[in-house]
Symmetry: C2
């Protein structure tokens, strides 16, 4: 009998706990797994030996996991040094752990690879498997990763409601700032707000394209003249022709640089340069781990990713991350795959050209088709009446 360890890394999502649920319930089925240690507070918690044996958690609380946002066992952005990986390997040895799971994004997959190497250096027989987690959808190789579908549903549903608001009272330009500093997947998913009735976002600005202020102002002006109210969705990470963020860094604390808000900046441009009323909304972390907008498809895939990781480790696999391959056919279907971890470590996946329109102010139908199944059930239909007299 050997023990298992699961660690969460990086920012929360709406379904990271669903993957934890999948991993724990799968592990409980296998008699060769003894203790199921969860690190309480990310990778640093491993070094501090802060664990909870998930086998001691009663069923009722376990069943809440798939519907609990953020990370129920905590997470961290700990910056690990080479000696930290060795320390983690020694704790793994001390606790007689054979199965190690890191649930996280690109950074966590990097940690995953380094922990594997550190264990190997100590001569430990350890299997290290990655469970992907993201909101930005920036993990390479896999078709998409758990966390994105829910973040996509959040922005689509929210922008659909905001568009209904702006259509009802068309007195301003409304800029919604979306998360995803280098990858525009979340921003792009706002296109799913469109019902085909002229609503939804009018303009979408992705970080994969240079933001040209003059084109933005011209596009907004033309739309205001046509519709009155305009909805713009913009990535928090837009950069200008000089390659720098369109908002200035305002201050620095330690390693962190603080920038002004892109949404507020664009609204101010519209007011100052066009003299048109504008406002901005920045749901920010409200949309990062929202159970109210959790995608059922995302939740199920997250559970599956957790289960598959445990199965892979028990089959003797190591140094792999679970991913999804989309199967061909009209009906949406995926199959879990095992990706060598060096293919995903610190690699950032951004939007491909075929998903972005030529002017760089919208997505293509190909993107919408790719993204639609990931958000789960269709959004609620709304009704809008026009005068007939």
């Amino acid at each position: 009998m050997k023990n298992m360890l699961i660690v969460h890394g990086g920012a929360p999502t709406a379904v990271i706990n669903a993957s934890l649920y999948g991993a724990v319930t799968e592990a409980k089925k296998h008699p060769e797994v003894d203790h199921i240690y969860a690190a309480i507070g990310g990778s640093g918690a491993v070094i501090r030996e802060q664990f909870l044996d998930m086998k001691t958690v009663d069923e009722g609380r376990l069943e809440l996991l798939p519907f609990t946002p953020a990370s129920a066992i905590g997470t961290s952005r700990d910056h690990l040094e080479p000696e930290d990986y060795e320390a983690i390997a020694r704790v793994i040895e001390k606790y007689d752990i054979q199965y190690v799971f890191f649930n996280g994004g690109n950074g966590s997959m990097d940690a995953c690879g380094k922990v594997y190497a550190a264990c190997k250096a100590l001569g430990l027989d350890v299997r290290v498997v990655g469970i992907p987690k993201t909101i930005d959808n920036d993990i390479a190789v896999t078709d998409h990763a758990p966390g994105f579908g829910s973040a996509a549903r959040y922005i689509a549903a929210t922008v659909s409601e905001v568009s209904q608001d702006v259509r009802a009272l068309p007195i301003h330009v409304c800029i919604v700032e979306a998360m995803g500093r280098n990858a525009g997947w979340i921003t792009a998913a706002s296109a799913l707000a469109r019902s085909g009735d002229g609503d939804g976002p009018d303009l979408i600005y992705l970080p994969e394209r240079t933001f040209v202020e003059e084109e933005f102002l011209a596009d907004v002006k033309a739309l205001v003249e046509k519709k009155g109210g305009v909805v713009v969705v913009a990535s928090e990470g837009l950069t200008g022709p000089d390659g720098k963020p369109i908002v200035e860094p305002i201050f620095q604390v330690g390693r962190a640089t603080y920038y002004g808000d892109v949404g507020a900046h664009l609204a101010n441009l519209v007011i100052k340069k066009l003299g048109i009323k504008a406002r901005s909304e920045k749901p920010g972390i409200c949309g990062r781990a929202s159970i109210a907008f959790q995608s059922s498809v995302d939740r199920e895939e997250a559970v599956l990713a957790g289960r598959e990781a445990v199965k892979a480790a028990l089959e003797g696999q190591t140094g792999v991350m679970i991913g999804f391959e989309r199967l061909p056919g009209a009906e949406y279907a995926v199959r879990p795959i095992r990706i060598p971890i060096e293919q995903v470590m610190l690699t950032e996946r951004t939007m491909p050209d075929e998903y972005i329109n030529e002017r760089g102010n919208d997505v293509t139908d190909a993107f919408v088709e790719w993204c639609r199944p990931l958000i789960g059930e269709p959004l609620r239909p709304f009704v809008t009446f026009k005068n007939d007299l």
Copy 2:
């Protein structure tokens, strides 16, 4: 047979269409009501004679109304002059309208009273009844008004999710900016995010109290030392000891003054003056008309308000607004009442002292008890694990 007119005014809510549904379905039961005209685009649309006869709308589309956010018949912030009220009265005469309903907030109730006076001056036998609508809950006399319960549910559920995020990754102070410039009801409702397990908002700043920067920074600092991550909810309309907004007006377009964001301002203060990581979220209009967070109690009361308004007009009442009186007893119950419109015209209701704590950085239990039934079903329970080894 006489005709009916319904007009929406002011900003959208999550349940104004539910009141429209209540009014239209009630009116259809009464053979003495012939055409049911909806003004498509607020009070200005009445003058422009932009109407839709709601009797021509098929059932399927009508049934979508209680679950459609914003205003399905449009709304406006038209500033009406005395001659406009006379113009509206002439249209009412032209279309043989006897029953007039204004669904809106304080400003719309003022318009309601003035339309009534203009009709009387023309010698028309018209009954004008107000249906209350608000997100801010600033309408006088009534216990609360439709729209608030859903805005309250939005902020409570959202802050509960944000708190779960910050608890899982306690690396910053997170400021959530809430709507309600002069009345703090929405900001206060964030207290319902608390599950009793030490989560939920740590500090709540209402516009009814002077914001003292030094006290805010001291409170934040103490909490960061204790908890690591801190969640603050602040009204968009906070004012300082000088009585002026804590953010400077940044520019003026026409009658509108634009201010910086309170949330971003407070986050910047924490970073600059305490050297602590901070960020801000501003859901803004994302929370104004969100069906995903609609309160079932709010929706039902909104339908009831619409029905009661039609009943009152058919009984010969005029110059009244429908309101709610809360009945005594452990179980939540309200009864609809009819309030003389002059008691509510342009009167703004703010939070009473007994709902605000002494230091002015939180609400009282009395407020939570008053507010809890309005948000509908209890929020989802979440689970958080602690280390046991």
